[in-house]
Symmetry: C2
Subunit: 149 residues, 2 copies
DNA sequence: ATATATTTTTGAATATTATACGAATTTATG
DNA sequence: CATAAATTCGTATAATATTCAAAAATATAT
């Protein structure tokens, strides 16, 4: 056993997929070369960032999902983007937005369980010294990444 | 001009893509048939829900992103799931979670502009009679759907 | 309005890739 | 340790993407 599954999950999370031109061509009843042309155009314009898989995260050991709302500390208050891009690198981070309102950052986190979630939050608080964080746990995910579960 | 782009965006939002088996095989240096076997297994187990594209949403006229936090009204308080699955059907909804804490639902919304966002929120409040909603606007999206923008 | 350039669509030929299948190997189970 | 089940993997084939050149449609300038 080579545990290829684990590697696949990593690759599929943000790429290593491609459009199904033939299927689309049949579906919208246009020649596949026309579909091909239009897709390449979207790609070259940068409108399409990636092709990827969406998982049933419970089945790949990432069933715990939390939103973390963050107030940056005084050090970083003027530069939320730099912090955001650093946080974006973590695999556990599904999304991160710089926002209006009470909090500067909203992070959506996926972890195996509460323990892993807690370790992650502890780690980033320690590292970046956030003034305040507030978490909301997702009890049930009905739709993610435009896919209904 | 057949405006195939619009149709593609609709299809790619939640499907019509497929894994790149040959590319993965080269990347992790395993036979493509082994990769194929492992992917089909993930699919049959239901671990993979879909293969899809991730967009630069500004470039496809969906540059406005808002989180909407919802308190259900008394009518629906006992059954957040039913409401959530109905809301999930809207194209504008990227994700919807049933949550702990102050609000029962967190919706991530993508619209063309503030006007479209406002119309959408008005519509669902009117339809479902939420007790309270609170919105947070994303000023900058650093990562979405596990893809760094 | 008309000529010209640009973009988009399309079919035919080719290159690449996924898939089916069977055999071999590895791993799990009693 | 024997047997069953799961996984790996090579070969052959089917399906698909891609290239290319031409035609059509659209935009632009005169």
């Amino acid at each position: 056993m080579k545990n290829i599954t684990e590697k696949l999950i990593g690759l599929f999370k943000s790429g290593y997929c491609t459009p199904q031109i033939a299927r689309i061509a049949k579906h919208i009843k246009e020649p596949s070369t026309t579909i091909h042309y239009n897709i390449k155009k979207l790609e070259s314009e940068g409108a399409i960032k990636a092709y990827k898989a969406v998982f049933d995260y419970k089945k790949i050991n990432q069933g715990t999902c939390n939103y973390v709302f963050i107030n940056l500390g005084q050090d970083h208050y003027g530069d939320p983007e730099q912090i955001a891009y650093q946080l974006a690198k973590y695999d556990e981070v599904e999304s991160i937005d710089i926002c209006t309102g009470e909090f500067e950052l909203i992070i959506k986190l996926r972890t195996k369980d509460i323990d892993e979630y807690y370790e992650f939050v502890k780690k980033i608080i320690k590292k970046y010294g956030f003034r305040r964080t507030e978490s909301v746990t997702s009890l049930k995910q009905v739709k993610t990444e435009f896919v209904i579960l």
